[in-house]
Symmetry: C2
């Protein structure tokens, strides 16, 4: 389960582009990764910009082949965790990988495209993080596309019937973009809601979701930035595709029952 830490190994790299803004815990604390005493770098969720509730981030996993997915990082009663449905690439990767990055972005294309498929390799970069006992290499969104990149460590895993629950902690956080004091845009938030609903529609085919999409479309058209409008078209196209697939599956079922 543990990931090789690259202090002096082949995975270590040049000067770190990231910095640890948090506290370093006392020497002698045992890292769950390999059991040997070491200094562990760790910051509080608040230092990583996380507050009670669910923070929507682009989670990047996959040491060999990076994968991005929009995931809500849950922070409730002092517990920070992920709830990953079985079958997703993020869930598969985090079954065996102990580190991942969570990226904050306002790029609607990244939300849309990572919602129904994976991003192309041009969206990712590999960074080296100083985790207190060497450098750790991990993929993330490119710094130019993210406002903040945080390296998280998986602490423990628990299986429910439908999802893998992973307790996590932030290790290093870097603010990569100085965009500050940006006003709220209802168009961007409608796009995020459409992404959530697209995932639900793929699983349930619930037609109420299509009605909501019509409403989101109105908000994106009125309030969204040009990029929100374009990204929304991708979501709408995908929703139509899922809908058509469901219809043709239904027809096949009916024909098979009639035969």
């Amino acid at each position: 389960m543990s990931q090789a830490i690259s202090s002096g190994s082949g995975r270590s790299g040049p000067a770190p582009e990231s910095s640890c803004s948090g506290s370093v815990s006392s020497p002698g604390k045992t890292d769950y990764g390999n059991g040997r005493p070491c200094r562990i770098c760790r910051i509080s969720p608040e230092e990583a910009g996380l507050y009670d509730g669910i923070s929507e981030m682009i989670v990047v996993t996959g040491e060999k082949k990076p994968n991005a997915a929009p995931i809500g990082i849950i922070y409730r009663n002092g517990r920070l965790f992920l709830r990953l449905f079985y079958g997703s690439a993020t869930c598969r990767n985090l079954e065996s990988e102990d580190y991942f990055t969570g990226c904050v972005t306002t790029d609607p294309f990244i939300f849309a495209e990572s919602c129904y498929g994976n991003l192309g390799p041009e969206y990712f970069e590999q960074n080296y993080y100083d985790i207190g006992r060497g450098l750790l290499q991990a993929p993330s969104l490119r710094s130019c596309d993210a406002d903040r990149i945080t390296l998280f460590r998986c602490l423990s895993r628990k299986r429910s019937e439908i999802a893998l629950l992973i307790d996590i902690e932030p290790v290093v956080t870097i603010v990569t973009n100085s965009r500050r004091g940006m006003p709220f845009n209802r168009g961007f938030s409608a796009l995020i809601e459409a992404c959530v609903d697209l995932t639900r529609f793929r699983l349930s085919g619930d037609h109420e979701i299509i009605q909501r999409l019509v409403r989101y479309q109105g908000i994106v058209r009125r309030c969204g930035r040009p990029e929100d409008k374009e990204a929304f078209l991708l979501i709408r196209r995908k929703m139509l595709e899922y809908s058509e697939n469901r219809e043709s599956e239904k027809k096949t079922d009916i024909r098979e029952n009639e035969a």
Copy 2:
């Protein structure tokens, strides 16, 4: 229409707390305010964190008695403007005042309370802005509650049947809070949608809005920060109050028709 500029007058103040991060236009340009040649301070919408689309801000008007309201600042095809429905305090104030502040905040109470009433005086502060030809005093949210405060100038007014359209330009912008790279929270965005719908419900009484509120409530409960949850209760209470008022008005109408 023009507002007294306080260079040396009773409205001028101590050292300015705000700074102009934009360009100062060439001397000799005529200000629309009083017709005399002067240096005008002006910045681009992008410098004020505004991009194509609608940016939701807390607009503070009222030289004598500050008033706050959540307003969408519209930026479309290079034109920056407000669309204010007649009857609102913001509209009344900006019929005669030439300057106002637009504040960016993630405080859900400010959105909720300014949506159905006015904020108490403890929410406001008076700042002095260097507008290139003296200091201008204008009310805004307190710096500690806002991520960014921008002073806007009204350029021209146009009346439609239902709303006052005001072309505006940003003059000075100050980032007051260094909160950076904050992740998206669906709970906060559901609260903003509920604020928008509360205003609509007051005007239309459309029962579809109540159904939407039930949905927003679920999102706020699951994803929101503790403050989003508390602020949502205020919106829900107000929505019930409006709904009950409508019902009792209906009953009165029926009784009067029967009499």
